[in-house]
Subunit: 406 residues, 2 copies
């Protein structure tokens, strides 16, 4: 059994050493952020590293039919396994911790248990899910959605990145889709993740247990107008979709503030995107989240209504397409309560989606958050101290012991 | 001497035939528009075609040290030459006529003069200027600005396209810059160009003479904020540069309307441009034009002031960088008057920049516009009938005869 007072110094050093092995992979020297898109060279390098780490620990690696990796510790026939892990892929110029902390931390937690002589009654499995961010193929949590059947395999196969490469081509095969047999082998899932806000700074605690994930989704707004010459077209004759787009960005911000919700337009695409041409088309992606599904629905409808009204005034046209939608995820209350008692940690909701949010509909699922001093995420400024990461590993090890031995 | 009543049928056929030779070069089958960026494969194909056309007419071709092409008809020592021509390069998904009409038309005008037995007293030179649109390297009229010394050769050499290729690398040499010797060999410049508005439709005339080009320029607005997670960052904690950008787009539109000026934000660049990340940086390019320099200055200053004020509220920062500025160009009044009398054509100002606008500061310069039924330009919808193009060629031939024989 693990001692309750973790030997922090050695664990911090072990964390630092293992973390350094991947710190340079996919790092952009200009921004200091990471470009680790799913199934690109950088992420494949990390997948290779995953296999090496599993091999070094004698943990057989299984790749499922959807591009997710699983490394097994213990007799696979010894009962339903406890699953842990996270993802390697990043948003463009994302931080170091979002994803990889949950995989590096999982291997280190296995080391902690072994060093303490813990012999689990059931297998412990470390996972690396593919395309969690949706930064390459547009649908977040693609690997876990495929595994659980929450996205159709044919639809996933045909998703394309900005260069036109399909997910099936990147994977090297059509994804297999729902795999209830594999899913049925897991008793629970626990994901260790960096916090993406400042609540743990305010609470003065290194680790928290998640309570819920806000309902959230992505909506694509396509504004079309009439491409024309910027110099010679009278203002009154224009049908400029950039105006409708700009109005919609401001409307989304205002409507979110009115509702204590979150709305962001962080991605835009313009045709032809030339300085001296009125655009023919502007596409913006709305990311919206709220504590209640009804609030989220009201927010998106209000933005859509305002955008449509403005399009009428601008002589432009709007189509609004939902690209993904995730309902409220309330993590297993019994499990969360058990972990809170075990770890004496605070409880937090989050606005961020995770593979844990997808898996929560199918098996008891929990998340642990590690304090982030900047509160910033999806940015090179994302941060966590080695000591807090080690505290996260120690917490995860205790949770795995609790779930796999009792 | 040319007859005043043009034989339109045969000239229309000759136009149609020569035009068809280049109609497919750089055409995007999806949009129907053209991707003919300076010194890319498509534009190089057209430059090769230029040399073939000159060779076929026994016109020696000279490339100056800046990438501009000149094809000479007549004894180069027979006095200062009459220069005509335009450019091959396009904006992204631009129309067929903007540029190429002035080069194809120039070769056909030479044919008209020869067929009529006209023997000019001075040389006639057909030019193809490089990078008129600024679509690849960001500075419009780059070739004519270099020739006239209006841009520093070192600055031009270092201009980079979106892939990071410098103008010097694309050209294969550092540009030579100002060439007063070459410039001194020209007595006048006349550019035939498609109209970029509907004034000739309203006037029911196929061809007009230009009076002036509005003062105009490009300003780059860099908005910086704090990249962060779209799901977890509270609205009140955000420093989102997309909001400041959106506000500035709407402010530019409003301020231009208030002044009877033109303002367009048609190009934007976002970092990291991810759906689930608040941007760290948004860059927008303001294209602004007005009939008076003072109006233009007031417009840009008003947009900058409103953007700065909004940046303060958004917690973002703004830098505004002028990328190009062209003062009012009043074409040579005596020359324009002579052409109006010769052609019995209406006179038009324009909001569009042209190489003729750059050259006008250095030698007597005129422009002829050909009617555009849609009034649309910098778009696949740009249009001109073969009959109107032939009328433009006939007008250009008469102008060249007038200038080269009298």
């Amino acid at each position: 059994m693990l001692t309750h007072s973790v030997e922090e110094g050695p664990l911090i050093n072990r964390f630092r050493k293992l973390w350094a092995e991947i710190a340079g992979v996919g790092r952009d020297s200009g921004s200091g952020g990471y470009l680790r898109y799913a199934l690109t060279e950088a992420e494949r390098t990390l997948r290779g590293w995953f296999r090496e780490q599993a091999d070094a620990r004698g943990m057989p690696v299984q790749q499922d039919g959807n591009g997710n990796l699983f490394a097994w510790w213990g007799d696979p026939d010894a009962g339903e396994a406890v699953l842990t892990g996270s993802h390697f892929d990043s948003v463009p110029h994302g931080g170091a911790y979002d994803g990889p902390l949950g995989i590096v931390g999982a291997f280190l937690a296995v080391d902690e248990l072994r060093a303490a002589g813990v012999a689990p009654d059931r297998p412990i499995v470390v996972a690396a899910f593919v395309e969690e961010e949706g930064a390459r193929f547009g649908v977040p949590c693609l690997g876990s959605r495929l595994l659980t059947g929450e996205i159709d395999a044919d639809r996933a196969a045909g998703l394309r990145d900005r260069a036109g490469v399909s997910f099936a081509d990147a994977l090297g095969a059509r994804p297999a889709g729902a795999d209830p047999t594999l899913l049925g082998r897991f008793a629970a899932f626990v994901e260790l993740h960096v916090e993406q806000g400042r609540a743990l700074v305010d609470a003065d605690a290194p680790v928290a247990v998640a309570s819920a994930i806000w309902p959230h989704g992505r909506w694509r707004f396509d504004f079309t107008g009439e491409g024309n010459h910027a110099g010679t077209t009278r203002m009154a004759d224009r049908r400029d979709p950039m105006l409708t787009y700009a109005f919609t960005v401001l409307a989304a911000n205002k409507e979110a503030r009115l509702r204590d919700a979150h709305a962001t337009v962080g991605r835009v695409s313009v045709e032809p995107n030339a300085t001296n041409a009125i655009p023919s088309r502007v596409t913006g992606w709305l990311d919206a989240r709220a504590a209640e599904a009804e609030t989220l629905h009201g927010l998106v409808e209000a933005v859509r209504a305002k955008a449509t009204e403005r399009a009428g005034r601008d002589g432009t046209a709007l189509t609004c397409t939902p690209e993904s939608a995730t309902p409220l995820v309330a993590f297993d209350g019994g499990l969360a309560g058990r972990l809170v008692t075990l770890l004496d940690a605070p409880v937090l909701p989050t606005g961020a989606g995770h593979d844990a949010g997808v898996l929560a509909a199918h098996l008891p699922t929990a998340m642990l958050f590690v304090r982030n001093p900047t509160g910033v995420s999806h940015s090179p400024a994302e941060s966590a101290t080695d000591a807090d990461c080690a505290a996260g590993v120690a917490a995860l090890a205790r949770v795995l012991e609790e779930l796999a031995c009792h």
